[in-house]
């Protein structure tokens, strides 16, 4: 029963450990006699070589073996000590060149009883992506991510634009869409399109409910914006843990989310989902911009955000406009949550919260409350996150994007598309 099991121990404390493992091919009769093993591969330019003989020597022990058809070999030794492993150059096929010193390796066991020693001969041609293509890939990924951020941001921006509220619970509205999608497609087994529609409808419903149940009463009491922001932080916390309460802490996948990408454009690989999500983002962003700039309700939305008592005095039903915005914001957040779950891919209870800061950064960078600003800001944030890691360590990838935010605001305190206020 030693086979197929690897037991090891920390030598640090002076206690060594037990049996060994062997792999599928390389076991030979020796294996039964010894407790410690060397094993490995012999390859020439990444091709395995068969019938190459390998010798081990050291501590008064010598043995030899040959590689199998996969270029693999295993050698047992009696003690956990240092040995010298030599590849017999004469057994190599014609034309295989071994550089000086490549044929002998000194090897010593670590904590375990097994030690891999590979002889990789030749140049080992690894096809890596060249720098230009890498940049291109990053840029495409960045645009893709940026568009998604924009979609997530637009609802936030709308709500901010109308009510002045920095809604931290927007993250949970995003998560909500994805979770509803999960519920209706995975758990209840509805077809994807239907599940998407239901999820978006329910997200819109969430927007409606939040406004009707929470924000409107608070507005009526004349609570200021900063306290409202804190309410949204509390709401965010409560909702987030409610999600965890019902859905648990682990990540799950939506149907079709893990299919491979099959659209090849030069070095770039995209999935249909990527394409669909990019297209959706662009269309929705244009539609929202149109809504804000051209439609009557859209203009009323901005009027309410500028000066809601005056809007009321102009005959605008302020509460209705805000309600519409919440419903729309909810639906957009839900949609972005679904796309986000496909893009990432994965659904989890805190998925919205994880990108909240980026969404806020994007909205701010573009200029608070401007629809196009949200788009521009999102694209910049997305691009910087993806591209900056060509130079930055990847665990600091958000640093680049956040620094850009600070630097841009140094020169344009009102954001990229924001407007300066007139003084006096």
């Amino acid at each position: 029963m030693l086979l197929g099991l690897l037991v090891s121990a920390l030598t640090l404390s002076g206690i060594a450990a037990s049996p060994a493992m062997a792999d599928e091919g390389g076991t030979d009769s020796q294996a039964e006699e010894f407790e410690y093993f060397f094993s490995g591969n012999v390859k020439y330019n990444d091709e395995p070589l068969e019938g190459v003989s390998i010798a081990v020597s050291g501590n008064g022990f010598e043995a030899e073996t040959e590689t199998d058809e996969n270029g693999q070999w295993t050698l047992g030794v009696p003690e956990k000590e240092a040995y010298e492993l030599t590849l017999d150059e004469d057994t190599l096929p014609e034309g295989v060149i071994v550089e000086d010193g490549q044929s002998t390796i000194d090897a010593e066991f670590g904590l375990t009883k097994r030690k891999s020693v590979n002889f990789f001969l030749g140049e080992g041609q690894r096809v890596t992506t060249d720098y230009g293509a890498q940049v291109l890939i990053r840029v495409v990924n960045g645009l893709n991510f940026g568009l998604l951020l924009a979609l997530a941001a637009i609802g936030l921006s709308l709500i901010f634009g109308t009510t002045g509220l920095s809604n931290f619970a927007h993250a949970e509205m995003i998560t909500f869409g994805a979770l509803m999608m999960l519920t209706f497609s995975n758990m209840l087994g509805l077809p994807v399109w239907l599940a998407i529609l239901i999820a978006i409808a329910l997200s819109a419903g969430l927007g409606w409910t939040l406004d009707a149940g929470l924000w409107k009463p608070l507005r009526k009491r004349g609570v200021g914006l900063i306290p409202l922001m804190i309410v949204s932080i509390g709401l965010s916390l409560a909702l987030r843990y409610t999600f965890q309460f019902f859905y648990g802490g682990s990540t799950r996948q939506l149907p079709g989310a893990t299919l491979p990408r099959e659209i090849v454009l030069g070095p770039i690989l995209l999935s249909w989902i990527d394409v669909a999500s990019m297209a959706t983002s662009v269309i929705v962003l244009l539609a929202v911009a149109y809504f804000l700039l051209r439609t009557r309700i859209g203009k009323a939305t901005r009027a309410v955000s500028d000066n809601s008592p005056l809007a009321a005095a102009s005959g605008i039903d302020v509460d209705r406009v805000i309600r519409i915005v919440w419903v729309l914001g909810g639906a957009l957040a839900g949609l972005s949550g679904i796309l986000w779950a496909y893009f990432r891919p994965g659904v989890s209870w805190d998925m919205g919260f994880q990108i909240l800061l980026l969404v806020f950064a994007a909205v701010t960078l573009g200029g608070l409350g401007t629809a196009f600003g949200a788009l521009v800001g999102s694209l910049i944030v997305g691009l910087f996150i993806e591209v900056s890691t060509l130079w930055l360590p990847s665990d600091m990838k958000y640093v680049g994007a956040l620094l850009v935010l600070i630097l841009v605001l140094l020169f344009r305190p009102q954001g990229i598309l924001g407007r300066r206020e007139r003084i006096g």
């Binding site: 009323a300 500028d306 809007a311 009321a312 102009s314 605008i316 407007r419 206020e421």
Partner: protein, 261 residues
């Protein structure tokens, strides 16, 4: 719709039980209102406006003039008393409801939407009846040609006077039956001020009942049918504009002698 003529005779000061053939359009009955709990700004203030009348309200700063207009328009909570529009009680009704009933209001401060363009600001004036837009836009631009040249400029970047024009125009866009104006002339250059007063008068002659608060008291009393002097949340004097204009007491307390020359 009756054409209005200047009130034929002076009404007794402070009197509310007057007999007049025209219907009461706006009636404020002993209203008490205020912002902070326990502090009343209006203390039993009363006012009437008959169909087609032009009412001027003057008074010292902080007398409660703006508060009175806001109370009529439902923007300040009325604590006691009632407000009636054509006989129906409208006390504490939502502002947008009143707009549908044909009441228009120009606030004293914060009276434009800064991030909207001038055109959009004007469109907001006619929010409830978008189809009349073109017609009315022409009408308004005719009054304030400065605005016509700048329809795409954001109101937030306008000068003080330009803002005031936008605010006036927005109210005119509504085509209201009752117009509440809070210091429409403040910040306008003399020529624009005169124009504004003339327009207000014209609008009024066209049948719009107008209540106007003014600190340019002389001008205001010159054109209005009846004037009220508000002091400390109460109507202290009331009478035809001309009469108040020449009342030595009113002059001493509220008008000053500067403009008399």
């Amino acid at each position: 719709m009756t054409n209005s003529e200047p009130a034929a005779s002076a009404e007794p000061t402070g009197g509310t039980a007057t007999v007049d053939t025209r219907d009461l359009v706006v009636e404020v009955r002993d209203v008490t209102a205020g912002y902070l709990p326990g502090v009343n700004i209006l203390n039993g203030c009363s006012l009437t406006a008959r169909d087609g009348e032009l009412i001027g309200i003057i008074g010292p700063n902080g007398a409660g003039k703006s508060t009175l207009l806001k109370a009529i328009f439902g923007l300040v909570k009325v604590r006691e008393g009632g407000i009636y529009l054509q006989g129906d009680e409208i006390t504490n009704q939502k502002a947008n409801k009143l707009v549908s009933k044909g009441v228009g209001f120009v606030p004293q401060t914060n009276n434009v939407f800064p991030s909207l363009t001038i055109q959009e600001n004007l469109e907001m004036g006619i929010f409830q009846k978008p189809k009349d837009l073109k017609h009315r836009l022409e009408f308004v631009v005719d009054i304030f040609p400065e605005l016509g040249k700048r329809l795409a400029q954001r109101a937030g970047s306008l000068s003080g006077g330009e803002r005031q024009m936008v605010a006036m125009s927005r109210a005119l866009m509504m085509g209201p039956h009752v117009l509440l104006l809070d210091e429409p002339s403040a910040g306008l250059s003399p020529v624009r001020q005169d124009e504004a007063f003339l327009r207000v008068k014209e609008i009024n002659r066209a049948g719009v009942t107008t209540i106007m608060v003014e600190q340019n008291a002389r001008r205001c009393l010159q054109i209005c049918d009846r004037g009220y002097v508000l002091d400390q949340g109460r109507d202290a004097y009331e009478g035809p504009g001309r009469e108040l204009l020449n009342d030595p007491k009113v002059i001493g307390l509220y008008l000053g002698t500067l403009g008399q020359d």
